[in-house]
Amino acid sequence: MSINLQNRREFLNLTSKGVAALTLSSLINSASGESPYIPTLHHAAKAKSVIFLYMSGGVSHVDSFDPKPLLREMHGQPMPVDVERTQFDQVGNIMGSFWDHKKYGQSGIEMTNLFPNIAEHADEMAVIRSLTANFSEHAQGNFFIHSGFPFLGHPSAGAWVNYGLGTENKNLPGYVVLQSEHSGTPHGGVSIFGNAFLPATNGGSIFNVSGSRAVPNIQPSMLDHEQRKALDIIKTLDAGFAQRTAAKDAVMASIENAETAYLMQQAVPELTDISEEPESLLDEYGVHDPVWYKSEYARQCLMARRLVERGVRFVELSCCPFEKGVQKANPWDQHNKIEIGHGAMASQVDKPIAALLTDLKNRGLLDETLVVFTGEFGRNPFAQGIGRDHNPQGFSAWMAGGGTSGGTVYGATDELGYYATENVSNIYELWATVLHLLGVNHEKLTFQHGGRNLRLTDVHGKVWSDIFA
């Protein structure tokens, strides 16, 4: 191919110099004249990445990480306290757990055997038993837990993290949401992962790990050498345009972008190609499990590790329902038949998450990766049929790695597991803590929008320093 000399020179000029420095400014409007936010740490970071194990639908805390023996004793009796309004307005009697509990690990954290493999990691877990949410309905709960606000329009935590820390691997997005063939998007839609008013690079990119095309439009539309040639022509034409207008910076940023996109075409297939992983490891995760929802989630867990290995800041996983096509948005939501539903859901995530923790640890990645496990709320201690309705007044989450202290329990609910009573916390505390471990002061990570300095934690938030290593 012959490009004339003048063009060639401009072309080289544009692509070799200057472009790297523009990576950041490419995020903003070329004409706005505002300087971009330069990621800075406010203090030394413990963690570099977050793996967010989101249990959409709401895991029953009283059946898992916050066992309450009193429920079995009082099984069938009415609640002795006033009951808050519930979503389905079907308030039954107290219902004992279907799962037995015991002390796990050297630390002796009490947990049920709903997640037997995860529980074996007790000494790596910091269990928070006093979380609360302000909403008892899925979509609002999902938005709230992701963004600190109950409706669309505010950036997701992953976007804030990405914005605050900047990227480590420019060929991959900094915030990746993993999905599988049969998993869904939580109620509220993809805006739950959105960047909202933050620069668009910070929004969650959905990777579907089931097929070969994890990312939309990632499959090149032509052969590599043809695409290369087309890209070079485009660059040449762009270079000419950049000379004729005052849009040089923006055009160069776009050129950079196209290059990034080009490289992503290789980076993504490389990411999703797990042929080099040892069979024994794949088995530990359960990648080949004959039960489809187990293998799909196992692949997500493995992919999460591969993503944080490659410097991706925030990885969010999506559960699959245990029946194809049913309840994709909120698979943990067992208003009825909780024994079957929670049993199946736990069997989906238990082994892969345990394998992920082990794998991260073995690779020395757990120290710098913060694993966070939570749903949008817990479930009531009393029955709705033979299930449980939503309970935002008190529920559990856990964290592991990334500077947290394993084997700790923070906060508590009352003896029925209904209200958080000790160190009562909200989602704001959770994100304040996550940001702190990442080296970011949650009160300082702000973005001016609509006349307000907005943050992930709104005007709230306190760091759970008690769970730090």
Partner: protein, 1081 residues
Amino acid sequence: MRYRFLISPKSDFILPEFKVALIFGASSLNLFALDATPEQLEFFENKIRPVLAESCYECHNSVNKAKAGLALDYRDALLAGSENGSIIELGKPEDSVLIWAIRHEDDLEMPENAPKLEDHVIADFEEWIRMGAPDPRDKKPTQLDLDNAVAWDTLLEKRSNWWSFQPLRKTTPPKVSIPDWNQSPIDQFLFASLSEKGLRPQEQAGPETLVRRLHLVLTGLPPKIEVVKQFTADPNEKAYWDLVDTLLASEEFGERWARHWMDWYRYAESHGSEGDPNLPYASAYRDYLIRALNADVPYDQLLTEHVAGDLLKKPRINQELSINESAIGPAHFRMVPYGFGVVDAYQEQITNTENQIDVLSKAMLGITVSCARCHNHKFDPISQNDFYRLYGIMVSNRPGSLNIDTREKQEINKKELEKLKPGIRRSMANFWLENVDVAVHKLATFNFAETEEEKGIHADMKLPAGRRKLVLPTDPERLNQLLLKREIDQVGEYHPLAPMKLWKELPREDFNEKWNHQTMEHQAALDTYEAAKKNATFYADLRDQKTLDRWYRSGNGLGPKVSPAGSFSVAGEGVYAISGIYPRGVYSHLTSDKHNGTLASPNHIAKGEKSYLRATGLNGAIRMSARNYPLEQGLHPYKRAETGISQWYPLRKYKFWNGEQIHYQISTIGDKPVNASEGRSWFGVTEVIGGDIKVKELGVPLYTALPNASSLREPNSLLAIYKRTLRASIIAWKRRQITNAQAEFLSAFVRFDLLPNRLESLPAQQRGLVSQYRNLESEIPFPTRAPALLKGDVIDQPLLIRGDYKKPGDAVPRQFLEAFDNRPYSNEDSGRLELAQDIAGKANTLKSRVLVNRLWHYVFGQGIVSTTDNFGRLGKKPAHPELLDYLALDFEKNGWSIKTALRNMVASRAFRSGSLAPDEANKKDPANQFLSYYTPRRLDAEAIMDSINSLAQKDFERGVYKMSKRNQLDSFLSTFNFPIPTTTVSRRDSTSVPAQALSMMNGPFIQESAKRWAERVDSQLSESSFDQKLENLFLGAYARTPSKSEHETLEAYRKSINDPNTALERIAFTLLNTKEFIYVY
């Protein structure tokens, strides 16, 4: 005391007079205070205390928050300093940490996250420290003291001095020496300031650039090749103006600018959250904007319409469409996101009302009022009261839809049809009187047993609508039988025709016994019902005119009067003539069931176990709404009235909502606030009850319709009773003396064709009358609807302390913002009309500035105020205040014409500048605020999409028409920064992300478009050379021909492509991928 302070004397903490008196009277006072002269103390009170209180106390106080251990709310704490040491060196401002912090000289930049204090304020602090920091605050304050630390009046007065709250100032454009720049005021202002800054304007751009720029800015589409050729051939001044006028007059102009406008009002066609329910008729608002902008409706009119277009005495009528245009204006208030299935209706109301206020204040005024929900605005003259003033206005309306047809259209044939009805009644009654025996015989021989098929259908009909697999019989006879059996099944033994079923099933004695028993039980049930009414927490009898007068009516189907017993409806279609005869009540379809209606109760605080609404209808939508929440599922009861006889419809979640403000509503199905559907629909309603009761279905037992009580005990001959009752009922109907029970009794005979009711079975006279009715009825159109606000109870909202609805304060009267006006609104209605007048009125200094600034932003790439939605303290100040005010005044003077304003902008010399920055501009004005050149910028998402489509296709749908469902936004548009519709956006982001490159490189849209475009060019120029085709591609994409080097590059590229058939497509693909194509420059 000689001097007075401006601070209100609410708290002793802020009342200096008292303090100062103490200072001079007491002996045990602190040295600093003692040393202070009255003048110094006055200085403190006027210059220092208000700033400390306003800007510092929140984070540095001794009550609830002392960041870095520092409190500034009384003298000792201030002198004690922070955890890092003292902050003031008395007499030495240069050595005082406090001064470093407010000057932003240190790492500390105080106040944090807020604009820097103004220079004169900083100078005051320096002066104060130089004086020795005189400070009379000798006591640690209380929380109450802190709350009242700065009197709002003081702040309001001070903050109202902010430039955007000042009246528009008349300014004279300066004369300039360069003739080119002396033609229009815009250029004169711009050139003068360019000169002042030592900047030179760029030379004028070439005609090919201008023709493309004009098209993209005014219509969002690239120019057609013919237009480019014509203009570039002779680009004279007249040709330029002609082009501008043609573009302003084009349909595409409105489509382009309506889309901008839709961003301001977060246009959406669904409510988001779980389920993402549709907002019915949302697109009416989009089309309204397109029409209004194309017709250049004055902006003050549009503003007024946006707030209260439905309430205008003289609305804008669109004769062509026969609609009231103005009434569509408030539709944007409905475009709020709602939470799904909320358990806390009040919290939800606060959230969605905040969104309405947020959009209203940003879109119309360019300020943020919504953040005053919890406390006074931190920087602007917006109080917490202001938020609740508007809140009351908003919640005094209810979400719904409006029939926007003109009055004439709504009333089509109404009078004529009403005139026909008495004749129909008379002649039908006469005909039926001849057929009483036939009717009763038909009933007596009716087979009440259900067939297997009918059982299946009945079971299916009980399922929720979405799960029904129902196939109803098409044969009217069979369908009729099925529906009769079903109705008896639903209503039970008190159905007027049920006794005949019993008569056929039971021996005579058993029947008599059963009959007496039923009668007694029914009377007992009536007693219970009467008692329930007395003890009800809510009871409304819509057969009572006074009750109806208190309810809220909307739609052309509902008249102001209660309809008497015997009112009837003529079927507009189908095989039957009369569709029902009704008891006294309110009905939406007495002329036609194409008419619409919404009837809603006043507010009521739910109390008790149960609630019911007695209704009849065809897809009549019954709702009970908590805090005006419009969604329907689970906790938010919704029922469909689908019976021909009145029945009690239970509203299941009444108990759940105990203590909450609710209202009842019944509407035709097209008027449901969500999930509406079109088609014939009607409702009738008689009663509503709520309380500790369980209402049994009272039905209309036969005995209640009997002409005299003597037949009550001995129904020896049921057939005879039926005959007597039927005859009496028909006569009573004819004479307009029918009772409620007789009407429903008669209706059952009519609706189920026991009395001959088939059109074909009527004698010629009757058939003729009904046909005449139908012909006229067929001319009635289905309503044209738009999302709207309907009237509700007028509410002065209590201020919520710290935004917490569990802490209500005093009720705040509905008014406009304090900074502009203090006239309270009337209590007759919500106050929207008065608000509309205020927003469009003289006192409001923001409206025109905000609008012309937005127009400027879209034309020049950045507003004179670059923060186009924020004209407050956190926004940017105008780069050209004089020009902005000139434009705003000129705009108002030109009849608020948006087209005229745009015409002046695009006609300016500044608009015609080249887009390359002159050398010095990068240094002196890197953001190009002063427009020394035309700012090149990426097109917005729709313009990119439309540009591509315009090359690839002859006819295509523009981006503005893409369905805007919140949870399924178009992915291509979203990739190019289409904003999530939640709040006002008049300045879209323009980020550059890999996903854009991926969708342009690999996405099917570009692939497909490149192919089609190349094919079009190929077929149009089938005989031409490659060069000519290449030129055509360039003209289409860039409105210019290729340069020599571009030609060489692409010629070489063509040759390098192995398959010559794809060469043109590949080139088309590369052109679509260039920045030049997606830029306006």
